[in-house]
Symmetry: C2
Subunit: 293 residues, 2 copies
């Protein structure tokens, strides 16, 4: 096998730790959020009690929170819950209303049954979606990856390392269009270059915050870049970019906490797909399957 | 995105059906098989009753079958259960003893706690491991895949389509060595060519037969082949090979049952990793995650 780049002395323990760090949820602490007889999210009992103020919208018992069956259809569901969300913001239960509708779905993002403001998504434990792009260059000594350093003024993960392009997915924009937009904003790529990105699958994990569960699905992409391309950030999210040999990226991910947590998983998936990890190593199969939770 | 080859009018329903066909198990029909306080397999209650004949080896209750804690260590466990396996063959409960030790593991194949004869593996519902290789050629009109037609005299899936190289994994041979051996036997590849195969991850599924549950993990590989290479079967497993345009392979997998069941999953994973499926299509993320069960 073309394992020239594999450092077979390296255990994969540090990779497994990074995946576990994105899957910290104890599901037993939550109760299901049900729409139309199907579970869509997970709610903390303490938040469920707040929802009891709207018995015409939320049907509560000890085992679940159910959206009232009398509220049918995409628009009516979205409006009813958004009204409650606004009041929860007034009550100080939810910090802010962002006016960014996110899809509510038990399957893919294009199978949504309603929308919910982005700010409320973790409280209802709903799956959210993102896109991450690995930008790489093939050199005579192997693959090099373009790695971003996040700006120090970010709310999330200031100063941490990041994928070349990465972002959340608002409602009602296709993956294709959103990726082209993010490639322009975050790396200064024109549309014709961005269209050379190759979709390579998804990864998923079950994170947790003080707000609740955050199940995430990230759509992953690779782009092989020409030698003379240098990414330029145009929206202030990134402080700088560095083209790193893949072995250096491997060491950083395995041995440090330098990367924004979920980026570790996107790049471990990149290592696997490109044959940079050795399946004869202990826990290789566990590594692969744990990227899909 | 480089979706030139994607037939966006095609739904992915036929792909999901193929994945479901490899995941037919109703886990509620089985009880756990436990070694050293950790679950390793799933056993049918009717088979558990047969194991009651060896109370010094198998500790039974209604909820589980446990390997006696008095039997400690890799060698002693393997010998004790192999003795019972031989007697189960004499009793006609298990058809045959194959003298092929398989690893018994709750994790990767190199984390085994004992071995068990291959013939007994499905009765204990233990995970087994295989290797599948996608052989492909890049032409001006896109990717072409080398597809095998299985010999008509095979016990398993006679006459069905198959990956270029595919095989089960015996105990105590590395993935690397076994792949080189299978590449020689099944496709007439010399070692230097076989070593160009790139490991790309795993897929897993939970199949079921009249014997019991068969959880499988397949280590997947890609090899990009030169134009002038033609695979030649040397061990009688394959009747013929055909180099097919990837769109033709997509149609066959989506619309027919021509492929051996688990090969569908290996090739769907190939489509995903090579950017041949469109993430904006319904159920794309479900497709990816359902390849890891």
């Amino acid at each position: 096998m073309t394992l020239l780049l594999v450092k077979t002395h390296m255990s994969y323990k540090g990779f497994l730790e990074k995946i576990k760090a994105c899957n910290t949820t104890n599901i037993g602490d939550y109760i299901p959020f049900i729409i139309d007889q199907q579970q869509h999210g997970w709610i903390k009992p303490v938040f469920a009690k707040k929802l009891a103020a709207w018995p015409e919208i939320f049907i509560l018992n000890n085992k679940s929170v159910r959206l009232a069956d009398s509220i049918q259809g995409f628009k009516k569901r979205s409006e009813a819950v958004d009204e409650a969300t606004h009041k929860l913001v007034q009550q100080g239960v939810i910090k802010v209303h962002l006016d960014e509708p996110y899809p509510v779905t038990a399957g893919d993002r294009n199978q949504a049954v309603m929308t919910l403001d982005r700010s409320a998504v973790p409280y209802f434990g709903l799956r959210s979606f993102g896109q991450h792009l690995n930008g790489f260059v093939r050199k005579s000594d192997g693959i090099h990856l373009w790695i971003a350093r996040r700006a120090r003024d970010r709310h999330i993960a200031p100063g941490k390392l990041d994928n070349m392009v990465a972002g959340g997915l608002p409602w009602h924009i296709s993956l294709e269009k959103n990726l082209i937009k993010e490639c322009a904003e975050e790396a200064g790529m024109d549309e014709s270059l961005a269209r050379q990105a190759v979709p390579t699958g998804t990864i998923s994990y079950l994170a947790e915050s003080d707000k609740g569960i955050k199940p995430d699905t990230l759509y992953c992409y690779d782009i092989e870049l020409p030698d003379d391309f240098t990414p330029v950030c145009t929206d202030g999210e990134v402080e700088s970019f560095e083209l790193m040999p893949v072995n250096k990226v491997m060491d950083i991910i395995h041995d440090t906490g330098e990367f924004k947590l979920n980026c570790n998983l996107v790049i471990i998936d990149f290592f696997i797909r490109h044959g940079l990890l050795d399946p004869d190593q202990e826990a290789y199969a566990e590594l692969v399957s744990s990227l899909h939770q």
